[in-house]
Symmetry: D2
Subunit: 363 residues, 4 copies
């Protein structure tokens, strides 16, 4: 319950922050997709800790091993398992947590739900769980490439600092050109400095990650419950610290009139039916319409801060707690590859769902 | 694919706007829950058309029939089927749609996805599909009552008009006291007048529906992919016209520091562990923490407007289209019972998931 | 839980023996398949009661209505709902059952599981539930025809009477040429007389239904848990009164040596790879190999008999019970279209699963 | 697709015969169950190769590692991952298989389905895949013990040699007292000698594994599609080389009259309702009735034999092939723990399904 995602391109993740290993099993992956350890490692390297001074200083090289499902560089169509061993697990940083619940963390809810939990590093609630997602996203990308779909995600805002980004034209190089992963270079510098100053103050900030899928064929998604935006929303809201999701015009769109919000259709020069605007965010009636799919995900400020906070002990006594573990003052830069992976996993799943019911939308 | 929702308390809806009937099958409902036709009808009456002059004037009494799964007023534990016959289906209002795609509707995407569609009234893409959800939500409510959970939803904003509502204290009577379903009575009047003037202008508006679940026990939800907010988000984004979802602090929370955003724990007088604030929206680490669950859903302005709009014909020729059908200038008042139903369905499902894995959280 | 079958071509059935109606919802059906009420009715007529004096005399015309998912004779790709109203529900035949558990029926287990049950006619445990399966099987058949797959099932044995049938050549006309649905005409006569004499004695008999799928492409099925035989076995063992399932050589095959049992490969004249024998029953490693799929299903003698039997009351007191309701002395003739429907549903599902993961195996 | 089993107690297996590792992830396992590496290893040791001269001589110690989901000897309720590294992978034994399809193996169907396969050792089609099942079964056993359920399986027949075993009284010690795993000691000796002589002849034999679940509470199973026998059948038919499944009277029962086959109810001294006979095999209407659950699984003779056999090359040319790899002349002794594991997995899943929908049947 809860460790599985997707209907046909289906992943199951496992592993705790301070256990022996983290991993993922992919079930339903099409055969004969080209996959290399390097392509998977590349994505894990974007997610791994210690990339700059605004990310956690935990030392993990996060080296991935392919355990099954790949033969001579091609997927075999059978279960694909990927494993990453944990290395730098400093359990001692968490000794007080045996007694105290960290505010706005999963400590209390896990303990009450299960009556037990892996305490060090948050156990299964740790963002290290997302290693499996990012690794699986790299495999999904092999399918998306076949279908001509490109997914890009970036930091759109940090606290009050909002970047200006053209989703139609943004490139991976622009996103990766700075440690914040914000393609607006000037704003990225401001964001970096801001995050660093918040870090020094022992506090944390949140922000918004935006994403675009370009080249999505018309027809992905499903009526009613498996609308494409419902699946994307579920995917994004399953990422630690996510508190909101929007597609297209989102919450801003609630302040528009229908006459302005509707996306007028027109025939393009190449015979395709296009829309003049894209307030729909590339999805109409739950199904992709061929325009770019535009999403945004809200991330709260990191719960772990170095300032003392009011909380209670496991025994129910009031106390104060200040974290000592190594943590990110802002999860956004490392959330970028996670949002990207989840977006790819959703689209890969819907490519297969569409092929199942109607036939291939790609060749 | 796509007509099913939930893992254990699982519903499958069927039916088109202008077909013979609309309905739902519930699989996995616990036995011996008290269910009456009246309780289900009550919810359908809140959703049905023609409630005031700011809702569509389509005439449908939406009378529900229980086809199976109930015996002498109690659920039997077997498949529970509910049926509503369509009555007032004016196909002629849609004659031009055989040729023209309505902007920001599902016409184009359905046609391209399936190569066929039930055209009249939007077929399966019609909001009449939600009849099944609302009916099923009334059944879920019987389970929630056993567990002491109360769900309420209301109109929080219409275009720029924002209500002031205390989620902790709002009552169903306040919500139902006006046709807008906004418990802020003064604002409700403004909203009603605004919607009515927009209606007269042949235009439409959107807004935000808010919801609260009170009395949710600690422990509902699941780690990783089935986080409670992920399931709620999926549920809400599957509602027609929904463009965004937030839990707790949502997008606003991205502009707060961690030191302000974290919900400090304290021991309450009755021995329970509570939080001083509730920016988490009642969910931490994907699992309910016993506080109120607070959500908001963004609805775009209704796509159907009476003004002429640019579009293309099925043959790809440019044209203009002005709707003649009966439609809501603002979906919000009728979306309220739909959001409520979906929230109940998610919580009912998670009550059973929790009972399955860990044991009952209610007696 | 339990009323749903299939992964992609997915059905949910509902309805009790003596409730208002019985039905099925099909989710995931491909669009643009030709479907007529007549084709569905034809299969229901083969399943309906009162076909001869060796079947139950309950009067039900079992007229099907298409509620959704079909437009102008073609499937639309959205949820397809089919409904059959119950007509001849004689609750009074079951009055004593309020107090007494029928031996080898579901009365006791349902009561103990749920603490409640629809008593008349067995409620949900009635074989009338299979109406939904047979109706859905007729829809699945439309997909199978596109793929060139033909499914036939027949009565292979009744008690000690075993027919001689060539699965490769048997025809529907031969099967339907007699009320027993046994294509071995001479044996069919013996079977009919035998069943009739058992009926007069107030007793019942069981037997074996055999089935063949011809024209199945290579590649259907899946490794490990969704082996084609596992899905067929699950389908068949979900039919009321089924006690066993075999594919290919089955239990007889356990008495052969590997050197005799292995199906030697050879290249056929048309370039295909074929096997000299078919002890594998058309499935190797869980995946179809292009040969005929041969299965057999064991049905126990009908539990309802007119002779007095030892049992207990709901209060736990010993008593005797003799049925008065109208029942089949042998379920086999009416089980034939049910086995056929389930076989089609499994193959339709696997056609879509294969198209999803690998691509279409048909054009 | 296909690597996942179970609805709530859900496993996903991965790994190929000659790849780096084999493993399983368990999702949905209840928290606080006692689990030790030793308990899992004990079951793997019963399954591992090289136990006697009638099993394959491949050298694998099959040492299991717990990667996640267990903390201080208790399950945590999160994903439980188990890993076994492959050691003795002699790829060279399979060099000719790059060119030739082994009769009655999965070589041909995998190649045609996926267009690619891991050739050495059968890749994913190898019975080494069942390591994951057996490991997961040991975890399921921890749940079954809490519920007072005991599962035992044994070799019932080898080719024509049939054992006499009392399912009610058979013990694990009797089963494990000989390398055949047949509790009928005299017959076990005959079976051993027979298998050994067949082995020397380069041939193979099949047989039947029987199983019993004792102490199953009334109420497990579900109406219609998830009947307990349907789930057991699916589980068993997913085991490599399985060709048939029976519950209770099975195929033999088709030769009985209803008056003899019906299991008369009587009130036992302790107030429980029991049956005089158990032709139902402990399941009525798909739901357990409190009697022993009796099943039998037919296994074909091992496909790999040392005699030369007719086959074709991947290029479609006729040829002959004699195996050189290390294989079991009879899979039965090693199939016993696999059948046992699958039976446990089904019952664990249904314990949770029942607790979800109705409430706990155990304390």
């Amino acid at each position: 319950m809860g460790n599985r995602f997707g209907r046909l391109f289906q992943i199951t993740t496992f592993g705790e922050s301070h256990g022996p290993a983290i991993g993922v099993v992919i079930d339903g992956c099409p055969p004969r997709l080209p996959i290399s350890v390097e392509a998977i490692q590349l994505q894990l390297d974007r997610r791994k800790p210690g990339q700059s001074r605004i990310t956690t200083q935990r030392k993990e090289s996060d080296i991935v091993e392919i355990l099954s499902g790949v033969d001579a560089g091609l997927t075999t169509g059978t279960a694909l398992a990927l494993l990453v061993r944990n290395a730098d697990a400093r359990g001692e940083d968490y000794s007080e947590m045996h007694q105290e619940y960290r505010p706005s963390h999963a400590d209390y809810t896990y303990q009450k739900k299960y009556g037990i939990r892996s305490i060090e590093g948050g156990g299964r609630a740790s963002a290290r769980e997302t290693i499996g997602r990012v690794a699986a996203g790299a495999v999904a990308d092999a399918l998306l490439r076949e279908a001509g779909i490109e997914v890009l995600t970036w930091v759109q805002s940090v606290e009050h600092l909002r970047a200006t980004v053209e989703a139609r034209h943004v490139t991976l190089a622009e996103i990766e050109s700075n440690p914040v992963r914000c393609p607006d270079a000037a704003m990225a510098t401001s964001m970096f400095d801001h995050i660093d100053s918040v870090r020094k103050a022992g506090d944390s900030v949140g922000g918004v990650v935006a994403g675009v899928a370009r080249g999505v064929p018309v027809g992905l998604g499903a009526p009613v419950f498996d609308k494409l935006e419902a699946c994307l929303g579920s995917a994004m809201l399953s990422i630690p610290a996510a508190k909101g999701f929007e597609v297209g015009s989102g919450f801003e769109g609630t302040r528009m009139r229908g006459s302005a919000h509707n996306d007028a259709f027109y025939p393009s020069a190449d015979g395709a039916i296009r829309t003049r605007t894209n307030y729909s965010g590339g999805i109409q009636g739950g199904i992709s319409n061929g325009e770019n799919i535009d999403i945004r995900v809200a991330f709260k400020p990191t719960a772990t801060i170095l300032q003392a906070q009011e909380t209670v002990t496991a025994g129910g006594e009031p106390t104060t707690l200040a974290a000592r573990g190594r943590h990110d003052p802002c999860v956004l830069p490392r959330a970028v590859p996670i949002v990207e992976a989840m977006m790819r996993l959703v689209l890969a799943d819907h490519l297969l769902l569409q092929r199942a019911q109607v036939g291939a939308t790609w060749t």
